[in-house]
Amino acid sequence: MRYVKGTLIALIALLAIAFFHYTLPQRDVVRISDTYEKRIDFGENSIFWSSPDTGNATGTVNRDIFFIQTIQTNGKPMVYRNEDTGWGWPPYFKLDTSNLQTEAADLKSSAEAPKWVVIKHYGWRNEFLSIYPNAVGVRQVDSPDVSLFPWMNIVILTLIGLVLLFLYRLWAQFRQRAIDPLLEDAGEAWDAVDERADQARDAAKAKATGFRAWLNTWKGTPRK
């Protein structure tokens, strides 16, 4: 049982971490080599794609999606998709996909004369599922070894922690003020019933005389 509980907790923790790792913004220093757009027919990876540009028809079976091809500082490739999140999840409220694509195309550079940029994104690149992180913003930096501190993530996680703390306090307060008194009442009522039964039995015993009194001598003492 202990192992089941432990596994379950570990699984939930893993899911929570994966969820935040996917959803929270991250920043990469990369060099943009090119941009392209490609029609995507959504398959089993459909939940990893975002929504069409805000205002366009939704629920279409396929659509063209912008991509940004980049080379990381370690020389490995990274491809980002560039899609609106619109008013949906995750709440980036990104509506400027075409503008971002223009900025990215403008920052293209070659390996010989690299222009380093910081791309803010969320999501995962996974070759097995053909999924791509969604670029949210791009800005040029002077050098590839710029230090980035995740202020935003700290703020978001702190806020989520505060909300969870509030919910816990709310539950504790509710329990203390509403449930415990009820349970106490119920406990008292039960004790009262018990006591009355005991008294009735004692009274009956006291009243019993003669043959019944003799019979009672055969009974054990009542269990408390």
């Binding site: 929504s51 805000t54 205002g55 939704t58 619109g86 008013w87 949906g88 709440p91 980036y92 409220f93 990104k94 509506l95 400027d96 503008n99 949210v136 913003g137 509030f166 306090r169 709310l170 307060q173 509710f174 003020r177």
Partner: protein, 93 residues
């Protein structure tokens, strides 16, 4: 536009639920505090035990008119402001 309206409607429902949860919690905490104060004052002899309920009700009346209670309405304001800032920062900065 439809997406924005949907977000607005669901957001309003969620924030209303949150508003009621926070106001219930805040009221409950205040009542508990008043009960503790009353108990202490009764123990010190500065409050008549018969006046306990009146003391608490007085305190709750004060709370209902307090700024703190009205600040809970910020639950509706803050997220809207945050969303507007987010839209600006993400798209137009």
């Amino acid at each position: 536009m439809l997406g924005a309206i949907r977000l607005g409607v669901f957001g309003l429902v969620a924030l209303t639920i949150l508003y009621f949860l926070i106001s219930l919690y805040s009221r409950s905490v205040r009542r508990e505090k008043l009960e503790n104060e009353a108990a202490e004052q009764i123990a010190q002899g500065t409050l008549d035990a018969a006046a306990r309920d009146a003391y608490i009700e007085d305190g709750m009346q004060d709370y209902e008119n307090s700024l703190r209670r009205k600040l809970i309405l910020g639950v509706f304001v803050v997220p809207v402001v945050v969303v507007i800032i987010l839209i600006y920062v993400t798209n137009f900065m």
